[in-house]
């Protein structure tokens, strides 16, 4: 058995959106004491896109761009300077349903826009175009280990030269006939700006054997039916000041995260520490 590989990063910025909890403050409040916002928009409205594009954007693109922009703003880092990793289990399930359904009924009627939006890196493409970013971006999937593998790739980029990297993870609701085999409900997205050094919670990851997960926390329970709920153990820990989180990293592997919360320089972190006791 090989030695574990310690990997570290500081979380410089966080973005979050899911149905009923449209930002990280709302998610944190919900995780700490069950508070829900009085009203929440039905879908994200990413300011990076022009108003007409914002309305037309597929759900996957809308949620990814919303959380990515907020995470960059939270980190105080210009989006165009960041290489990025986009992690999604299934991509945009509504578009996959559209493609398959149209092919079965009238294949020459395929919309060219829907076709180029069907690529797994559609959100990554819209992000780099909207942000004017010429840095590298990637889009990946690893089924129920998608978030852990996306996080590992972000950590690899830090380890091999990038001072900072944007990680975005999201999944959409399944639709149509595809929904009878691929189960995912609602819209969920989160983004982290990870830096090699700086202020913020410090992550320390270890890849290990086994796949035993902890019971779901408040956020993981709230969005449990979305395919990207696999990332929520980390976000529950970040919200509540928890010091560890376990993510599935493959059929026989887990990514164990230790989280050292920053000294309470910011009120938000101080609140999280207090709430955790």
């Amino acid at each position: 058995m090989s030695a574990p590989n310690p990997l570290s990063a500081t979380i410089a910025g966080i973005g979050f959106w899911t149905d009923g909890l449209p930002d990280w403050d709302a998610a944190r409040a919900f995780a700490l004491d069950g508070t829900r916002p009085e009203s929440a928009p039905a879908r994200p409205s990413p300011q990076l896109l022009a108003p007409n594009e914002r309305r037309r954007a597929p759900g996957s693109v809308a949620v990814a761009l919303e959380v990515a922009m907020v995470a960059c703003r939270d980190a105080g880092i210009a989006p165009e300077t960041l290489p990025s990793v986009f992690a999604s289990t299934h991509g945009d399930l509504g578009i996959t349903d559209y493609m398959c359904d149209t092919l079965a009924t009238d294949p020459t009627a395929i919309s060219p826009t829907k076709f180029h939006n069907s690529v797994h890196n559609a959100a990554a493409g819209y992000w780099t175009i909207g942000a004017g970013c010429t840095e590298a971006t990637t889009a990946l999937s690893a089924y129920d280990a998608t978030f852990a593998q996306g996080l590992l790739e972000a950590l690899m980029q830090l380890a091999t030269g990038s001072p900072a990297v944007l990680l975005v993870a999201y999944d959409t609701a399944s639709a149509g006939l595809l929904g009878t085999v691929t189960r995912s409900k609602g819209l969920l997205g989160a983004a982290l700006v990870l830096v090699r050094d700086g202020d913020g919670p410090r992550l320390h990851a270890t890849l290990r054997d086994g796949a035993e997960l902890d019971p779901p926390g408040p956020l993981a329970t709230h969005a449990q039916r979305n395919a990207m709920a696999q990332m929520l153990p980390l976000f529950d820990a970040l919200a509540t000041g928890g010091s560890r989180a376990m993510l599935r990293a493959g059929p026989h592997r887990a990514l164990s995260l230790e989280i050292a919360h920053a000294a309470p320089a910011q009120a938000t972190h101080a609140q999280a520490e207090q709430a955790h006791g």
Binding site: M99, E153, L177, L178, H252
Partner: protein
């Protein structure tokens, strides 16, 4: 946060085995023979019930090659092609050696695809059934969630090979299986793993045939990359792999020497008009390899034969490389194999290093005025030290790779 102007050189990675299976046949000998003899693999489109009038690069015999029964959970055209490609050119034997040396947890599996096994999802819709309660559903043989998700390919290969390191499916459209080399290189450089199986597989399906047709990018004739009269691409399918390991002191043979990745920040389905992203990717790969552009002997171009791509790419190449470079597109032989293009054309670059065969371009006759002296229609022979591959995808996603050869 300022980025360094150019990335530092990367540690070289030894290539312990490599292979491609395309419309030219199964394995490297079939590829090399067809490239040398200028024998293309395109045929009139005979894929699916209502074939569009175009030409395709279809792999023979996939229909007659079911997966072994132990792997039947992953049964679909894309995973069949993955399995066929995996059996060629000693890839499995090289993996066995590396597993014995490093352990299965220390070997990553990073594979690229554009559409993975969406062909199975399309078939599920085409053959949908209605049950007694009037509920629409997939036929039982296709009600397998794993083949209806992008990681179908990575998950299949993980079970087929028994590798236990990080396993990822990269899906950045037509740059997918070039970017797998970069991701694996990072994991090896950072010490997360000691070796990696990389590659990519994409198969013909309705989504890409009718999708590219809807974008007006499909030719009704055989594609003609860099020809002034080109009018679109020919689609193809392929699979291929490479086995990478951290190079040891005194290693000879083929190596991955550099990678460059960039974004166009321009348009979802059209290249940057000045080739900004393409140039950044090629420069990045040269910088990581620590070599000058003049040292590259062969460049396998993205060269899709769409009107927009080829002139932009030709100008970017002309701005970066001296006239001595031999650059060509092999899409006329295989068709555009999309998410598999990165690995297939990396294999062609490796074959150029190994055999000295530098492919030109098939079926093109009239040079586009944008072509510099680097773009060669004829094949050539030369003993070269470095070869490159360009792969560019939708979303403006670009990757260039540099391969090298160390004499024994």
């Amino acid at each position: 946060m300022p980025e360094p102007l150019s990335p530092p050189p990367m540690p070289a990675l030894a290539i312990r085995a490599f292979t491609a299976t395309t419309a030219l046949g199964r394995g490297n000998a079939a590829q090399a023979a067809a490239l040398r003899e200028r024998r293309g693999g395109l045929r009139r489109n005979d894929f699916g019930p209502t074939p569009l009038p175009t030409w395709i690069g279809r792999v023979e015999g996939v229909e007659d090659a079911p997966l072994p029964s132990a792997l039947s959970r992953w049964e679909c055209r894309n995973n069949r092609l993955a399995w066929l490609a995996l059996q060629q050119n000693g890839v499995l034997a090289a993996l066995e050696t590396l597993v014995a040396k490093h352990g299965a947890d220390r070997i990553a599996l990073v594979v690229g695809t554009s559409t993975s096994s969406i062909g199975a999802s399309e078939e599920g819709y085409a053959r949908a059934e209605t049950d007694a309660d009037g509920v629409h559903r997939f036929p039982d043989d296709l009600a397998r969630p794993i083949v209806h998700t992008p990681h179908s390919l990575g998950d299949f290969l993980q079970h087929a090979t028994g590798l236990r390191g990080p396993c990822i499916t990269v899906a950045t459209a037509c740059s997918s299986s070039a970017k797998v080399f970069a991701q694996a290189a990072r994991m090896i450089e950072a010490g997360l793993v000691d070796a990696a199986l990389v590659g990519g597989v994409d198969t013909l399906c309705g989504s890409v045939l009718f999708g590219f047709n809807a974008l007006g990018l499909v030719s009704s004739e055989r594609c003609r990359p860099f020809d002034a009269t080109r009018d679109g691409l020919s689609l193809g399918e392929a699979g291929g792999f490479a086995v990478l390991e951290r190079a040891s002191e005194g290693d000879s043979g083929l190596q991955l020497r550099g990678y460059g990745e960039s974004s166009d920040a321009h348009h979802m389905s059209a290249p940057h008009p000045e080739g900004l992203g393409a140039t950044l990717a090629m420069r990045g790969a040269l910088d990581r390899a620590g070599i000058d552009a003049a040292e590259v002997g062969y460049l396998n171009l993205h060269g899709t034969s769409t009107p927009a791509n080829d002139s932009v790419e030709a100008r970017a190449v002309d701005a970066l490389f001296p006239a001595t470079l031999h650059a060509g597109s092999t899409k006329g032989w295989t068709g555009h194999t999309l998410g598999a293009a990165g690995i297939v054309e990396s294999v062609f670059a490796l074959l150029a290093l190994e055999t000295g065969l530098l492919p030109g371009i098939l079926d093109s006759t009239v040079r586009d005025p944008a072509c510099g002296p680097q773009i060669r229609f004829d094949n050539a022979e030369a003993d070269i030290r470095f070869a490159m591959n360009n792969s560019f995808g939708f979303g403006g996603n670009n990757c260039s790779l540099v391969f090298g050869k160390v004499a024994a």
